[in-house]
């Protein structure tokens, strides 16, 4: 049975109330009293249904009408779990373990709370992946009308459903899309799909909207549009929002207040400015030091280790094991929230008072640039055109990469950046033009390339969860290129693999482990070690950090930078993360619709094209410029 550690009266254990059993009552018309707190969460606890281990515990916060609260944290920190619990819902296998979610005077965790009437009408939810949240077999219009079929038009102030739908289309800027209501979701782009989701969420003019990473996977320009739409809608209707994201910059742009989550606890809460300028919790500080800035190339500091999973959380502070500030007391007793300012800003850290007095984050040291090199072109691409079937993806691309430099290829999704990388490495063979490596032309078919060329140009895949064979040990994975490309004695292979692992900041003992025993960051290091083992001159990195958390991302970026500096590796970075480009790249190549828009070392300092300037302004920033 659930043991709820609360001082109040013993409450019976709560299971997740099912929405289906609640009758579809007409939407309550009680308007929220102006000024009163709209949502108040007290001691929310979510547990694993079997073991009762807490996934989320002691989460308390309030939300005023029209206020936007950002929830940030690494994957597994419990932010999505909290977001879902705000609607009285838990994912399969989890159950509400205690606490209260008071919305407009009602506890949504109480069985029999008329959730069905509330969800979609007064509390709306926008899921992360619009492609899977929309029903692919129903037209957009049908799905929008469904909202009104379920909840009626009572909250629209007299407007009919059709009038409201027309209004919604212009609110989410879909009115230019021809016959937007008569298309199926797959006929829309990712950004448009997400705007359909927003339209559905805002359809009934809700009081509260919960957004779960709504812009993850969208490129910066689309993300900018979606963010603007969300901000505009929240302002004009005084809608309160909970915005869940791992992207601190996005949250910084949108949220009035920020809550930082770590291992299922809210560790810091306060107004966005103070939290991001002078965080009180070492974890929040760590996260902020890990994100690249779009304006200056500072050294990124990753957080080592990972958060303790549910059921294996230590008695003291959960962050103590990774914390530079931890003292003995931190390891034995959990810290209580420490109030930091007259307004509501607190951090769950006993040294918070000292930490906010540390120098502001903007003063992190600038990165030293790789100055030498760059004169001899190592890689030359001339008139490259490529396509998939009938579709032309790249047309007439020409550029060179100097030895020991880092070239970033950036652009929106579908611009063709990955295709360039795949042509160079030989994964895509249907191209015309010339690709030269050290003056020799590369064959389109990788099977006809020499072993030497193959080993000199190595590729690192985006997702370390699919790029390592789960049936092989790390040692076998890292040794594989040596086995295929060179004939070396077994001992020599093992020695070089160990060296490569150490270069990727992993110890040799990892060789015996299997990929599923590793975290995402460790996996990506293994993938990097696999590329390093054959001593390449060019490393092509295809969105290598996009599957990773910011703290891990920082460590990988620093690793790549170190390899460039100490081993003289030339980097070709394919990415849509422009802040990352700023912190790593010497040269930037901006791609749009398969053509080069701009190329050079100072693209982001003095953009010449309108498009580059636009991209720059679209990057979300922590501190508004």
């Amino acid at each position: 049975m659930t043991h709820v550690h609360r001082s109040e009266e013993d409450q019976p254990p709560l299971s997740a109330p099912t929405a289906a059993s609640a009758p579809a009552a007409p939407v309550a018309e009680s308007a929220v009293v102006p000024g009163a707190q709209l949502l108040s969460v007290e001691g929310l606890r979510v547990v694993i249904a079997g073991s009762q281990a807490d996934v989320v515990d002691e989460v308390s916060f309030g939300l005023d009408q029209g206020e936007v609260l950002g929830l940030v944290g690494e994957s597994g920190s419990g932010k999505t779990t909290v977001a879902l619990a705000l609607m009285g819902h838990t994912r399969r296998g989890l159950a509400i373990g205690g606490g209260r979610v008071m919305f407009d005077g009602r506890d949504l965790l109480e069985p029999g709370a008329a959730l069905r009437a509330l969800r979609g009408a007064r509390i709306a939810y926008v899921a992360q992946d619009p492609a899977s949240a929309l029903n692919p077999t129903l037209k957009v219009g049908t799905q929008l009308r469904e909202v009104f079929r379920a909840h009626g038009t009572g909250r629209l102030g007299g407007a009919s459903a059709e009038e409201r739908i027309g209004e919604l289309l212009s609110e989410v800027r879909l009115e230019q899309v021809q016959h937007a209501l008569d298309v199926y979701p797959h006929q829309l782009s990712g950004g448009q799909q997400q705007r359909v989701m927003l339209a559905m969420a805002f359809a009934c003019r809700p009081d509260l909207i919960i957004l779960d990473e709504p812009t993850t996977g969208l490129d910066v320009t689309t993300q900018r549009h979606v963010l603007d739409t969300v901000r505009g809608l929240c302002r004009s209707y005084q809608v309160a929002a909970v915005y869940v994201s791992h992207d601190l910059a996005v949250v910084g742009e949108l949220a009035d207040r920020v809550g930082v989550m770590y291992a299922g606890r809210l560790v810091e809460l306060g107004a966005t400015g103070p939290v991001f300028r002078t965080p009180g919790h070492p974890y929040a500080r760590g996260l902020l030091r890990a994100i690249p800035s779009p304006t200056r190339a500072h050294v990124l500091v990753g957080l080592e280790g990972h958060p303790p999973p549910p059921g294996r959380r230590p008695p003291g502070c959960f962050f103590a094991a990774r914390c530079d500030f931890a003292i003995d007391a931190c390891r034995t007793t959990a810290p209580a929230p420490v109030s930091l300012a007259s307004g509501e800003h607190w951090a769950r850290c006993r040294r918070a008072g000292e930490i906010i007095k540390l120098p502001p984050l903007a003063e992190l040291p600038e990165r030293d640039r790789v100055a030498e090199g760059g004169n001899e072109p190592l890689l030359r691409v001339e008139g490259l055109s490529a396509g998939y079937g009938e579709r032309q993806v790249l047309s007439d691309i020409s550029f060179t990469v100097g030895a020991r430099r880092c070239l970033a290829i950036v652009g929106e999704s579908g611009a063709g950046k990955t295709t360039i990388a795949r042509c160079i490495v030989g994964l895509h063979s249907r191209w015309r033009g010339t690709i030269e490596f050290k003056g020799t032309q590369l064959e389109a078919d990788r099977r006809r390339r020499g072993r030497d060329v193959i080993s000199r140009i190595q590729y690192i895949f985006q997702n370390p969860y699919t790029s390592l064979n789960p049936r092989k040990t790390v040692g076998q994975i890292v040794e594989q290129p040596l086995r295929e490309l060179f004939s070396l004695p077994r001992k020599e292979r093992a020695r070089r693999a160990e060296e490569a692992l150490e270069d990727a900041a992993l110890s040799g003992e990892y060789a015996r482990r299997y990929p599923d025993q590793l975290s995402g960051g460790e996996r990506q290091r293994v993938a990097i070690a696999r590329a390093l083992v054959v001593e390449p001159e060019v490393l092509i990195c295809d969105e290598v950090t996009s599957a990773l958390d910011v703290s891990v991302q920082a460590a990988i970026v620093e690793l790549l930078h170190r390899l460039q500096r100490t081993r003289g590796v030339t980097l070709l970075l394919v990415t849509h993360n422009l802040a990352l480009v700023r912190s790593l790249a010497d040269d930037v190549l901006i791609l749009r619709d398969g053509q080069i828009v701009e190329h050079g070392p100072s693209v982001f300092d003095q953009p010449k094209s309108e498009y580059a300037a636009q991209l720059l302004t679209d990057i979300p920033r922590l501190a508004p410029a």
Partner: protein, 298 residues
């Protein structure tokens, strides 16, 4: 090398579950009986030593069969050939199916179309009818039974394997191997196949059961392993006319086939379950998290 270890590890993990232990114990005892049976049989399995369909009596605990042979001796002696042929046919059939399935999935395009259409044609024949056709035309030989049964398995295995392999072939570690200019054959054997272990193990167990049933069925229809050699399937056929006088001649082989089948199916089920559990909960959690973040550009 790792692949081989993994197979054993998977079997070991399955055997340590309650379900797997029960299945293995059931199937194992029947296999053991079939192997040591010929050496401990009290009488000759092919000579008449008692009366026709005499009920159990001292010295003949399961009575006599249709021409007065000792039922117990025939049961003990009649298992190993059935099991050996079944095992051979299963390995051959599943092996062929795996090769076809992976090739179709990995090579794609024309090869996929061609291979799968051949599979479709073979699937159109009911397995027993196909075996009967071969045996009635070419005569009853042990090797022919083996091939006929194997051929009836291969297309179904190919379908299942192809479906799983398609997903595996899309993963990036296969691309990584291709980048090293590895021959296609080695990519399929070294990268794709090890990720199909659980499917292949389950198919092996399942198909072994089917093999026994088909071979026993063929014997029952008197196209199988020829008399007078003892054989469980054949015994059921021979002795059914005396079912009222001495039911053991039919019941004993049926019980053994049933125990073996149930045991194998249970063990196979355990393999399937443990192999799903190979992905530990923490990893699935991380996978989900990675999926969230990896929704970026394709």
């Amino acid at each position: 090398m790792s692949a081989r270890w993994e197979w054993l590890a998977l079997l070991g993990r399955a055997a340590r579950t309650q379900r797997g232990a029960v299945g293995l114990a059931l199937a194992g005892s029947v296999v053991l009986l079939a192997i040591i049976g010929p050496f401990v049989a009290p009488h000759s399995p092919t000579l008449s030593v008692t009366g026709t369909f005499v009920p159990p009596a001292p010295g003949y605990p399961l009575g006599g069969d249709t021409i007065g042979r000792d039922v117990l001796s025939r049961v003990l002696a009649g298992g190993w050939l059935l099991l050996a042929v079944a095992a051979g046919a299963t390995v051959l059939g599943v092996g062929a199916g795996v090769v076809v399935g992976i090739s179709a999935a990995y090579l794609g395009r024309v090869s996929d179309g061609l291979l799968m259409r051949i599979v479709d044609v073979l699937l159109a024949f009911p397995p027993l009818v196909f075996a009967l056709l071969l045996l009635s035309v070419l005569g009853s030989h042990v090797w022919l039974i083996l091939i006929a049964v194997a051929v009836s398995h291969a297309p179904q295995v190919a379908r299942v394997v192809r479906a799983t392999a398609l997903e595996v072939c899309e993963r990036d570690f296969v691309r990584a191997a291709e980048l090293l200019a590895m021959p296609k054959r080695r990519v399929m054997a070294g990268e794709v196949l090890p990720n199909l272990i659980s499917v292949v193990m389950v198919e092996l167990g399942l198909r072994f059961t089917y093999s026994i049933l088909i071979i026993a069925g063929l014997s029952f229809l008197s196209f199988g392993i020829q008399p007078p050699a003892a054989n469980w399937g054949l015994m059921i056929n021979e002795n059914r006319i005396g079912l009222a006088a001495n039911p053991w001649g039919v019941v004993a082989p049926i019980i053994l086939i049933a125990i073996l089948t149930i045991g194998l199916n249970t063990f196979t089920d355990a393999i399937a379950r443990t192999s799903l559990g190979v992905e530990r909960p923490t990893e699935q959690f991380e996978l989900a998290a990675a999926g969230i973040a990896a929704g970026a550009t394709p």
